[in-house]
Amino acid sequence: MLQPLMYGRMGVWECGGRKKGSHLPTRPYPHTRIIFLIAVLLAGCETVVDVPVPPHESQLVAQSFFSPGSPWSVRVTHSVGYTSPDRPGLIDDATVEIWANDQLVERLPRSNAGTYVSQAALPQADTRYTVRIAAPGYTTTEGHDALPSPVPVTHFQETVVQDGADTNAQRRILNLRITLDDLADEDNFYGLGILQGRWIEDRQSGTVTLLPPSLFGFESNDPVFGESAFAFLDTEKSYYREAFFSDDLFAGRTHTLDLDIQYDATPPDAQVIVRRVFTVIVLSISEDFFRYLKTASNQSLTNENPFAEPLRVHSNMTNGFGVFAGFQHRAFPLSVDSVGTAPITSADLCRLAGLTHPICQILPPTPGFQE
């Protein structure tokens, strides 16, 4: 019960981004430590009481992230009462329509459970779209958004700062420099994430397993990334699992993001990563998308804190929840992996894992890759 209070926020060690040379889990922060101590003092004082919660009328939830060249994809679920034992369910009998300038663009057929994908239409620039979702028993919800400007990356550079094979610490550190040429006269919002793909070999059985791609954290002291929940010393670089940021600090100017990723070159565990690949994804996102992602991320950070001020997740859906949001992307496969040379991207991993996630659909396949 107490352990998550101390360790729970950093997430899984394999997501990377830990400090130099250790497998240490989350550092306990001062507040966490104090909360922990209070929790120890309170152990045994917990009582279950019947707390009447106001009834909740279930509403439709939309999650649709659209980008140029990719078909419309809308996942439709519904909200549930907070104490309900039910999972928020997928809605399979919804009517999902995309509108532009009061013209129906397409009624999306259901593709997978709860997911509606267009057959022909593709999002276009300079068009404000509306998604309208109706389902029996629910109030119709709709949201509006448009594609943001393309990702203005003008330069991408990766550098091996430390090759783990050469050091006792066995840490490999890559430095990435990404130059953005921010457009003037408009508020721009960006996202940055690194997808990792891994093949794991069990040394005892010799079996090689492909793990689904996952986010891999990075470190940076660039102030544009904003505050990190995982910074402790301001002399160190802050850790980010991913970052969503505005152009407030470089509006209309060129700015180079400077970040590091690091990982064990030779993990000491019985299981060994025989191949590891990374793809850096830079996003240009709409303001609604930015606000949704930031508030959702910040809310998750206060999961364990009963004293934290509540945070509402932004939504641009009326009479519903979720977000209908446009984005553009650039993907940069890194050329370095832990074994050597195999040029495999996370897009390939997505396909191998059979994912229908939009990010998997937009990633370019690696030329010459054979499954």
Binding site: S22, S79, P88, P213, E227, L283
Partner: protein
């Protein structure tokens, strides 16, 4: 010097000073305790035939100008035998009076004093004195007498969370209270995460709460002043008293260093709950786990009468809390065996020191000069060590320390000038250098294969300083036989990092006497506070940071208007009713979701600035003397906050908004040796924000979130901010005090055996709500309650 001061006063208040008749003379001196020689603040001197009176100041000094004649003077003070004597006044006289204390707890107890001027007659509103001896008769958590918890029982004061020593006065936050110990500010007034206050009742002489109508001599906070004075030490004989409780013990010794010339008092207490609880904790802890928790504090004061006109005081307080834990896990499945040790701890405490010099310039002008030092410091340590049991063992460790605090060094001078019975003028100034340490972190990293390299990273968050100063002047002036006013002006300024803030704060209090036992009162004042407390939990934690206003985050400001009436029903009963409205601006709160953000990043980016207001009515019915004494307090209030960044910019109830708050406090002398204390409190449930619904998270950059719908926790949908009320809080505490004639191991002295219980009917009061999964997989809101019925026994002795 006297001439300069007198000239200044005449220039400042030429219209207020009536021409003094030649036939008047001034009687001045000190009122003291006849047994200990300690001076009595707030003693009442009154000439009934002339209907003229005065009170002693905080150092027991009085000055009363009367017509040259034979006058009958009555000197009284709560808990002491009053004296009446005739004085033939033909010239200015220095007269000291010694009052004899009445034994408390024999057949009558008195509680909630009219120290000094009768409340009906005073211009001061919203101020209450609590005699420490009376507080000792009330039930106490774990038997530890706590004056702050007694203050929480007064109308207009909320306690915050269960068991907390936080003070939320008329809708203000705990940072808005100026807590002074012998004139030095105390920045963190709690032990054990807020469950006990740092003030040892055995070392205290006087406690005063002012929650509105602030006289001009007070400044720097918006909501309340808690002014605590330490005992001076017995000038005549040595004595000791102490308390032995279940989890605490304290011992106080005092006596003359030079009889009637110099005295000392030393008091200390410590909890030994760590020793008592160790066997139980060890039984519940797993192998490799251990916990440490204790606190201690100590007070000391010396008092030296250098001459009839000069007196020196030196006082010191220090306290410290120590808490820690160690966890060790061993993974023997690995080869080699892998061992991980997690050690952490937190230490915090206050140190205050004051040096005071009382000087009597004349029989009308008294000065007190204070040098003060105050320091609050908090440290937390976290060390994580990994050991692989190879030969030799490979050890990697990471150690983080974090410290924060605030340190004050200051000086102030206060003058009391009583040129005529109609005027009581106070003026003075203060300057304080604050040194803020808003969170210094260090890291030491020792890597197994790096040759034992230590890496210490120097932080770039450095302490910074700020200078705060103020001037004030006030006159408590009798305008007519019915109308009296306190007019004051408090001018303050603070300079920090090149930015200077200043303010002029007018203070006005008026009393109109409808009847000798019935008065109407009104007060208005503005306040400015240059310090902010950055707190992110809603409970008072030692990690809360004190910070100065900046060019981005302006000082807090407030104004408060209060109207009230006080009516003395009889010699025993007094009822007062006060209504108030308080407006506050430039308040700060963490932005939503910023709760667990790293403390070393720019705090200004993490806070939202807003405003608040509070209004309500307080009813206070007191029975002041007799076999049964006590009070009933009721508060009806509304407290709101509004921040652009919270609740979509709409106003919402403050966390400690209480619509109804009731306290009933009674002591009853069952016999000469036995008395009973009881308190019952009720408060409307705390306003909180509940999640009412949830929905599945979707994440663009995290493929696993789409692959596995359960990969990310659901997102929560909240109801209106503060729209839910936790269950009401109510609790009954009882105490039975049995007074012996002598201490059990001595032939003399006195002792008291106290037994009682906190939360007698075992009410499960809410501390906080959280969610958990029920036995059938359903999600539940659960309430954490803190204290069940807690019996206690304590033995107090004095010899």
């Amino acid at each position: 010097m006297r001439g300069i001061v007198g000239l200044l006063l005449c220039l400042l208040t030429p219209k207020l000073l009536p021409a003094q008749p030649v036939s008047q003379h001034t009687l001045s001196g000190f009122v003291t305790d006849s047994e200990s020689g300690e001076r009595l603040p707030g003693a009442n001197l009154y000439a009934p035939a002339l209907r003229i009176g005065t009170v002693t100041n905080d150092f027991g000094f009085y000055s009363l100008t009367l017509p040259a004649d034979a006058v009958v003077l009555r000197i009284s003070y709560l808990g002491y035998q009053p004296r009446t004597l005739a004085v033939h006044l033909r010239r200015d006289l220095d007269l000291n009076f010694a009052l004899t204390p009445v034994a408390v707890g024999l057949d009558e107890v008195e509680i909630v004093a009219d120290r000094g001027e009768r409340e009906v007659e005073s211009t001061q509103m919203s101020a209450i004195d609590l005699p420490v001896e009376a507080v000792k008769m009330l039930p106490a958590l774990l038997g530890e007498v706590d004056v702050i918890k007694a203050i929480q029982l007064l109308p207009g004061v909320q306690s915050g969370t269960e068991g907390s020593t936080g003070l939320y006065v008329r809708g203000g936050g705990p940072d808005q209270n100026l807590i002074l110990l012998d004139g030095a500010p105390v920045y963190n007034a709690s032990h054990v995460f807020g469950f006990l206050s740092v003030f040892n009742a055995d070392a205290l002489q006087q406690v005063r709460l002012i929650k509105g109508g602030f006289p001009a001599r007070y400044g720097g906070r918006l909501s309340a002043v808690v002014d605590l004075s330490m005992k001076e030490g017995n000038l005549k004989r040595y004595e000791a008293d102490g308390t032995v409780g279940l989890v605490f013990s304290s011992l106080t010794a005092q006596g003359p260093l030079v009889k009637d010339k110099a005295s000392f008092i030393v008091s200390a207490r410590r909890t030994y709950i760590d020793v008592l609880a160790r066997p139980f904790l060890n039984r519940n802890l797993e192998d490799g786990q251990s916990l440490t928790s204790y606190f201690y504090d100590a007070n000391a004061k010396v008092n030296y009468i250098a001459s009839p006109r000069n007196r020196l005081f030196g006082s010191l307080y220090l306290g410290r809390d120590v808490y820690g834990s160690t966890f060790e896990t061993v993974d023997r499945a690995r080869n080699p065996v892998y061992r991980e040790q997690n050690t952490g701890g937190a230490h915090w405490g206050n140190v205050t020191a004051t040096l005071r010099w009382n000087h009597l310039f004349s029989n009308q002008l008294f000065a007190n000069t204070t040098l003060l030092y105050s320091r609050y410091h908090f440290d937390v340590l976290s060390r994580l060590t990994q050991i692989k049991e190879t030969t030799p063992a490979r050890q990697t460790s990471e150690e983080i320390t974090y410290s924060s605090g605030i340190e004050d060094l200051g000086a102030r001078i206060d003058f009391d000038f009583r040129p005529a019975p109609a005027h009581y003028i106070r003026f003075g100034s203060s300057v304080t250098q604050h040194r803020f340490n808003p969170g210094i972190s260090t890291l030491q990293l020792r890597l197994a294969d790096a040759g034992g390299t230590d890496t210490t990273l120097t932080p770039n968050t450095f302490p910074f300083a700020a200078t705060e100063a103020f001037l004030y002047a006030e006159d408590d002036v009798r305008l007519t036989s019915h109308l009296k006013a306190n007019l004051g002006l408090h001018a303050s300024a603070m300079r920090v990092n090149g930015t200077t803030y200043a303010s002029l704060q007018p203070r006005l209090a008026v009393r109109y006497l409808l009847h000798p036992d019935w008065s109407l009162k009104a007060s208005f004042g503005t306040m400015q506070q240059y310090l902010h407390l950055l707190t992110n939990t809603g409970i008072n934690l030692p990690t809360d940071l004190w910070l100065a206003a900046t060019d981005r985050i302006r000082p807090q400001r407030a104004w408060q208007l209060a109207l009230g009436t006080a009516y003395s029903l009889s010699a025993d009963y007094l009822v007062s009713v006060e209504g108030y409205y308080k407006s506050m601006r430039s308040l700060i709160e963490y932005k939503p979701g910023a709760s667990f953000i790293a403390p070393n990043q720019d705090w200004q980016d993490k806070v939202a600035v807003g405003c608040g207001w509070s209004y309500g009515v307080e009813v206070f019915l007191r029975k002041k003397q007799g076999r049964t004494t006590g009070w009933i307090g009721y508060t009806l209030s509304w407290t709101q906050r509004r921040f652009d960044a919270l609740n979509d910019g709409a106003a919402f109830p403050y966390r400690y908004d209480r619509r109804h708050d009731v306290s009933v406090v009674l002591t009853h002398a069952l016999s000469k040796r036995l008395d009973l204390g009881a308190t019952w409190v009720y408060g409307t449930g705390q306003a909180i924000t509940l999640a009412t619904a949830r929905f599945a998270n979707g994440h663009l950059l995290d493929p696993q979130a789409f692959l596995d719908p359960n990969a990310l926790p659901d997102l929560r949908v909240y109801g209106s901010h503060g729209g839910y009320r936790m269950a009401p809080y109510h609790r009954l505490d009882l105490a039975l005090n049995w007074h012996f004639g002598k201490a059990f191991f001595l032939e003399s002295g006195e002792s008291t055996l106290s037994a009682g219980a906190y939360n007698v009917y075992n009410r499960k009061n809410p501390f906080y709500l959280f969610t958990a999964t029920g036995p059938d997989g359903e999600r539940q809101y659960r309430q954490a309650s803190l204290f069940p019925v807690l019996p206690y026994v304590a033995y107090r002795f004095r010899f």
